[in-house]
């Protein structure tokens, strides 16, 4: 099937893009800049400074890790520095500097059809390891937390070939049993591997794991997770106080890079306070909330603003997003347990994140969002680079639109490669979708 067929033009489309009703239009920026944003900038700035200092040989041991179900608590407990190639890659994209790195990787032999996160990261690795925010240190340990994404295995395998750094594949069995839960053998296997990882990190860092400290870090993580969960519950309000896709991004960086620290907790306390205040005052990210939708799939980082505006102009707010659960599913009850540190980390990696759950569990998660968060529609943003997310989303559309009668839009672009973002085509599709949704709403009213 050709790309064009994935975003078919309906007979009413094809000419000039539809204009949303006048009352929905707003010149006002559709995002919000409060105290939490300044805190985020400062804290993440300090985190990036640590990376640069480490890269310049001023101290610290860098542990490369993947975002999905990351065990950052262990890294923190051993005073090492977590480095996320995905975060670096997305920053290259957001700053519109990814393409040259992608092309460099393709020259090296990577395919046009390989994940562009990997290609951008590899290109950057051979171009001095610099993003707009930091110089990325060479890895002291490549800790491949294989949580769902098979590309992770290859990404780290390649980084190992290039850097010759020590590597450990932390193998996390996928959720595959009839009840969707990990078996006791799965948990045992992961805990035993975590023990090996700890021994490896101790030898690389020269630090000994203090179990009491790990427990304290888990307490901080647990409270951070609770606040994050409370924040996510706030989008059940009408209007939703923030956009659970575009605004969640601000909170995801501290969630992964600073979780398990006092600073990270402070950020989430402030974020909760601000968002709760907005909810209490009935404020939302847009002048008027006209549509509430759930969104599935990662964002198109190179064109985040353009993408957001496609929805904002219709008064459409994301009340829940699957992307914000890649690192963990706190809103469905997960908390780190300081009394069972390694088991709890294992359960986080095995079960309490989106990536390691099977595709049908994701359908359930989305169904839950549409029902409990009161959404009018589902938007599936299908990403070429990330087949973990995208492969089979046509079936997902079938399930939601035909079986559950949830209006569903499937659109396609990429999270890293700017060559796959066709703005006019996407806008046409989004406009046609919300126009038809509006029509349906009017019919119901009458």
């Amino acid at each position: 099937m050709a790309n064009e067929q994935l975003v078919p033009l309906t007979p009413s489309e094809g000419s000039s893009p539809k204009k949303p009703p006048a009352e929905a239009k707003s010149e006002k920026k559709s995002d919000y800049q409060g105290k939490m944003h300044h805190m985020q900038k400062e804290m993440m700035g300090r985190y990036f400074d640590r990376l640069t200092a480490c890269a310049e040989g001023k101290g610290g041991k860098a542990v490369y890790m993947m975002i999905s179900g990351n065990p950052v608590e262990l890294i923190e407990a051993l005073d090492m520095i977590p480095v996320y190639p995905e975060v670096n890659a997305l920053q290259l994209a957001a700053k519109k500097t990814s393409l040259s790195h992608i092309l460099k990787a393709e020259e090296m032999g990577y395919s046009i059809d390989n994940c562009a996160y990997v290609k951008a990261d590899v290109g950057m690795y051979f171009a001095g390891r610099k993003t707009a925010f930091a110089t990325i240190p060479e890895p002291d340990l490549l800790l491949c937390n294989y949580v769902g994404c098979n590309v992770y295995l290859q990404w780290f395998e390649h980084l190992q070939e290039y850097s010759k750094a020590p590597i450990y594949n932390l193998d996390i069995p996928f959720c595959r049993t009839p009840d969707g839960k990990p078996t006791k053998e799965d948990i045992h296997y992961v805990v035993k591997q975590l023990e090996e990882v700890i021994a490896k990190m101790e030898s690389i860092s020269g630090n000994k794991l203090d179990f009491k400290r790990l427990q304290h870090i888990l307490e901080l993580s647990s409270e951070t997770g609770r606040l994050w969960s409370e924040i996510k519950m706030l989008t059940k309000n009408r209007p939703s106080p923030f956009d659970a896709y575009f605004d969640s991004v601000t909170m995801m960086a501290p969630l992964y890079c600073l979780r398990g620290t006092e600073e990270g907790l402070l950020f989430f306390q402030e974020a909760y306070k601000e968002m709760k205040g907005k909810a209490d005052r009935g404020e939302g990210p847009l002048p008027q909330e006209r549509f509430r939708f759930v969104i599935e799939g990662p964002p198109p980082w190179p064109f985040l603003r353009q993408f957001r505006d496609m929805f904002s102009r219709w008064g459409a707010v994301a009340v829940a997003s699957t992307y914000s659960t890649v690192g963990g599913l706190w809103e469905f009850g997960f908390r780190h347990d300081p009394q069972r540190p390694l088991e709890s980390i294992a359960e986080h990696m095995l079960y309490w994140n989106l990536s390691n759950r099977n595709f049908l569990q994701r359908y359930e998660q989305i169904k839950n969002y549409t029902e409990q968060w009161g959404a009018d529609a589902l938007v599936i943003h299908s990403i070429k680079s990330c087949r973990l997310f995208s492969a089979g989303q046509g079936d997902m559309r079938e399930y939601f639109s035909k079986q559950l009668d949830v209006p569903t839009l499937l659109i396609e672009s990429d999270l890293e490669d700017p060559r796959y973002f066709s703005e006019a085509q996407l806008r046409n599709r989004v406009d046609a979708f919300f126009e038809s949704l509006e029509h349906k709403k009017m019919m119901v009213k009458h």
């Binding site: 090296m108 395919s111 059809d113 390989n114 390649h158 594949n169 099977n358 973990l388 089979g392």
Partner: protein, 391 residues
Amino acid sequence: MATTEVQPTLESIFDFCREVVLDTEYSEAKRWLAEKPGRKAFGCFPVYCPVELFHAAGMLPVGIIGGGNQIEIAHADSRFQSFVCSIVKSTLELGLTKRLEFLTGMVFHSICDPARNLASVFHRNFPEMYVEFIHFPQNLVSPLGQQYLATEYRRVLDGLQGLVGHPVTAEDLNNSIRLYNRIRSLLRELYRVRAETPHLLSAAESYVLTRASTLRPPEQHVEILEQALAALPGRSTRPKDRIRAVLECAFCEQPPLALIESLEEAGCYILDDDFLQGWRWFTTDVPIEENPLRALASSYADRSHFSGVKHDLRHPKAEHLIENARKHKADAVIILAAKFCEPALFDYALYRPALDDAKIPHLFLEFEEKAWLFDKLRSEIETFVESLLFD
């Protein structure tokens, strides 16, 4: 098509196997099912599949390895996007067009993201089917990985026992291991003959013999393999002026038969390949032990053929390929990757510099199982062959 009708001449064996391979109605498996009421067949998606577990439970494991260019994709491309490999879509299409209704279940493995999601899509679309998913460990450095795999096999077997309604003993498993050891050793022998005397057995011929072994009762296929091996030395074909190549990266989605033939006709002897790698599995026999599940698990870790979905950090990625090319005294390596196959495409990025360093000429080709025309590929390989022959 009964086995008794097969004449033990090489040509008739190849013709028969070719017919089996191209048959998207799976008549051989259905014939076996019809022979005795209550029999069950189980579909196995690539790459590695522990067929012994299904066989020991009394079922026939059947290789469900896409629809090739024998079926039209009419429904599955609305479920899986344009950037997903063909085998995922054609396998779903086989299901949506009711060609897989003879199967009691399907097993998928942790090989890549699309195959993993396909397991879920099967589960939803075919609720009457028993869908199993096996997590193959990707930590092979630690002994924990293979210990874990034995427990994973136990879990799968427990489910199968429930499905067939009777226990499966260690003896049952060992009997199945013996039988499949026999099949695999015959296939190894076939590959050895081909590597040593490639003019006696083409890659396409060895392919149909191997692929038919995924589609027929193993008890019956042993006989065919033995007959073929016995007849090969008597063949009178003469060596041709061709380059010697080993082929890599086609371990999951399979190239069309005509493409394999084209590669050879364009001037290559393909001395070794990784077609159907997961069905040939092991470099030596699986040992017969008191605990067969442990023997199977340790065999995956320590004696299975490499493929791009097995991430074994004990060895550099390209090591096996360079060794294999040297072992076969190959003039060149052909990388034949399925379009959109991320594991294969990623591997190529590491193979390329390693082959350059080892000064082994190489050619990268992409294919889709559904293709019919290979003119472009053929001319690429002809140019490559000429550059080697007349360099």
